[in-house]
């Protein structure tokens, strides 16, 4: 897909998203859609570091939670508008990515993954001990009302998340198709070789970590608006960290479309199972799906498609 086509599709999606609340009346689809889009942003952000550069961030919820609490803080302190919250969250996320990256990216992959877990617990402990942020009880965040143009707050926050998702995917795609993406792929394949080719690996990894952190934190910013209440358990939830890596895996980590596919698929399945299987078996279904994917399509949907294409090509070649 060329840049022009990509932009065209993105604009179409954005326009469709803006019109949707006028056509589709039932607000539930916007609640569910919000969650799916939120995961598109998270998975896309995660993939910039985890997929392109090959550094598994296990502590995605640290960045997500930082975004959530940045926004909650801004609502409580200044009743700041959503746009300000999103930008501030992205800034904090980038800063956090930079600091974590500086502390830990000099070390190899597995250590980095564990260090990010540590970050989650440290941030969660800080929030727990902060009375201003509500501690364990959380913070009720009655956000300013939605602009009149939107049918309701959910539709509004859905559209905001849609824009964020397009921005995130745009960033990921831009990186992927540029020299930055090429350097990150080189790092993923072999760091010493990349370094020997003149790639400033540490600087590139820091950049990827910061951008990735910024995008993930951005995904957390509208949460206070969406849920009207933030609490440390939701903001720093293990589920977010695990979904963030399961989704790109399911879709495929090599290209921007992979995390998008994975997020849409897994988040939809999760949304659907919770409201159709009204028992603990909804979790079981998700667990089985993850295992099935890893075993049957280890390179994700993209890998599967590539394999199929190759097979078809070979068959054509033989006949």
């Amino acid at each position: 897909m060329s840049w022009r086509n990509f932009l065209l599709v993105a604009l179409l999606v954005a326009a469709a998203g803006m019109v949707l609340p006028r056509v589709l009346e039932n607000p539930y689809y916007f609640f569910a859609g919000y969650v799916v889009l939120q995961y598109v942003v998270i998975a896309t952000g995660w993939n910039i570091l985890g997929g392109y550069a090959g550094y598994t961030n296990f502590g995605t919820s640290a960045f997500f939670g930082a975004g959530v609490y940045t926004a909650a803080f801004l609502i409580k302190a200044f009743e700041a508008p959503l746009l300000v919250q999103v930008l501030a969250a992205a800034g904090i996320g980038m800063l956090l990515g930079l600091v974590t990256g500086y502390l830990t990216l000099r070390i190899q992959g597995v250590y980095f993954a564990i260090a990010t877990v540590a970050l989650v617990v440290v941030l969660e402990t800080v929030v727990h001990n902060s009375d201003y942020l509500g501690g364990a009880s959380g913070l009720t965040t009655i956000a300013p009302p939605a602009p009149a143009w939107f049918a309701g707050p959910t539709q509004y926050v859905f559209c905001v998340m849609l824009v964020l998702a397009l921005v995130a995917v745009g960033i990921a795609r831009a990186i992927e198709h540029s020299w930055v993406g090429r350097s990150l792929r080189a790092i993923r394949a072999s760091e010493p070789a990349a370094e020997a080719c003149g790639v400033p690996t540490l600087r590139m990894k820091l950049a990827a970590c910061a951008i990735s952190g910024g995008v993930i934190a951005m995904a957390g910013a509208p949460y206070p608006y969406y849920a009207s209440h933030v609490d440390p358990l939701s903001a720093f939830s293990l589920t977010i960290g695990l979904n963030a890596l399961a989704m790109p895996l399911i879709g495929g980590t090599r290209s921007w479309i992979g995390p998008v596919l994975g997020a849409v698929l897994l988040a939809s399945v999760q949304q659907i199972t919770t409201v159709t299987i009204s028992s603990e078996f909804n979790i079981l279904a998700v667990g089985l799906m993850l295992i099935a994917f890893v075993v049957l399509a280890p390179e994700g949907i993209l890998g599967l498609v590539a394999e199929l294409r190759e097979r078809v090509g070979r068959r054509r070649a033989t006949t």
């Binding site: 090429r182 792929r185 080189a186 010493p192 070789a193 020997a196 080719c197 003149g198 790639v199 400033p200």
Partner: protein, 241 residues
């Protein structure tokens, strides 16, 4: 003629173990140097220190009159110190030509000229026909060639070939040797680390032998090969008999 590389008193320790040094070694521009020594003698450690993957614990490394001891590897690469790896490290997930574009991203080459330049290098190593093949699909020989091709992109002044011929057939060894010779004719100084003795001896103007991190012999290939000490540590009991 002043040396292009000056290694002075370089040491490398891992914890309590001293893997290298102190080592003093200089390389003349356009020289062909063979680096030999048994496994674990510190050859790769030495060139890791030279290329900047390891920070030396002591000593200085001077390149073209400039102290580069504190420079990170990517800076040294851009200055003209290229290397290949003992075990080929292709950039998987990319095509062959894209592998060569990675170093070019950091060189002042015009965007339009890059592909042509990359193809030139691919042709020179005989990989032109594989330009769009994924790196994963290459054979052992092709991987070795890609490794060298990638090193050539930065137009090195010094090239370190770390066992570039391991696992190749006799004919393929000759291919690679010829390739390195052509490069050297263009003025590139080459350090060859190799276990295949006849290749090193044929190729090198000067040979250095390392053992337990120190240089134990240095000189003309024949002289080093005859050295009692070298024979004992390197060729083992059989040669000593």
């Amino acid at each position: 003629m002043s040396a292009i590389v000056e290694i002075r008193g370089v040491e490398k320790r891992f914890g309590a173990i001293r893997a290298l040094g102190p080592v003093n070694l200089s390389l003349q521009p356009g020289e062909r140097l063979g680096l030999i020594g048994p496994n674990g003698s510190g050859k790769t450690t030495l060139i890791n220190c030279l290329s900047g993957l390891f920070a030396a614990n002591a000593g200085t490394i001077v390149f073209e009159g400039r102290d580069i001891t504190q420079e990170p590897a990517h800076v040294r690469a851009r200055m003209g110190i290229a290397r290949s790896f003992q075990i080929p490290r292709p950039f998987t997930g990319m095509s062959v030509i894209e592998n060569l574009l990675v170093p070019m991203d950091y060189l002042p080459i015009e965007a339009g000229a890059r592909e042509g330049r990359a193809m030139e290098i691919l042709s020179s190593v005989g990989l032109a026909g594989r330009r769009d093949a994924p790196a994963e699909a290459l054979s052992q020989l092709e991987l070795r060639k890609l490794e060298l091709a990638r090193a050539l992109v930065i137009e090195p002044k010094v090239l370190v070939a770390d066992e570039a011929m391991a696992g190749l057939s006799e004919g393929e060894i000759n291919d690679v040797l010829a390739l390195l010779m052509r490069l050297n004719e263009r003025g590139v100084a080459i350090i060859m680390i190799e276990h295949i003795m006849h290749a090193v001896m044929r190729f090198s103007q000067r040979v250095v032998c390392l053992e337990t991190g120190r240089i134990i012999a240095e000189g003309l290939p024949q002289a080093v090969a005859q050295d009692k000490h070298v024979q004992k540590v390197y060729f083992g009991e059989r040669a000593g008999r």
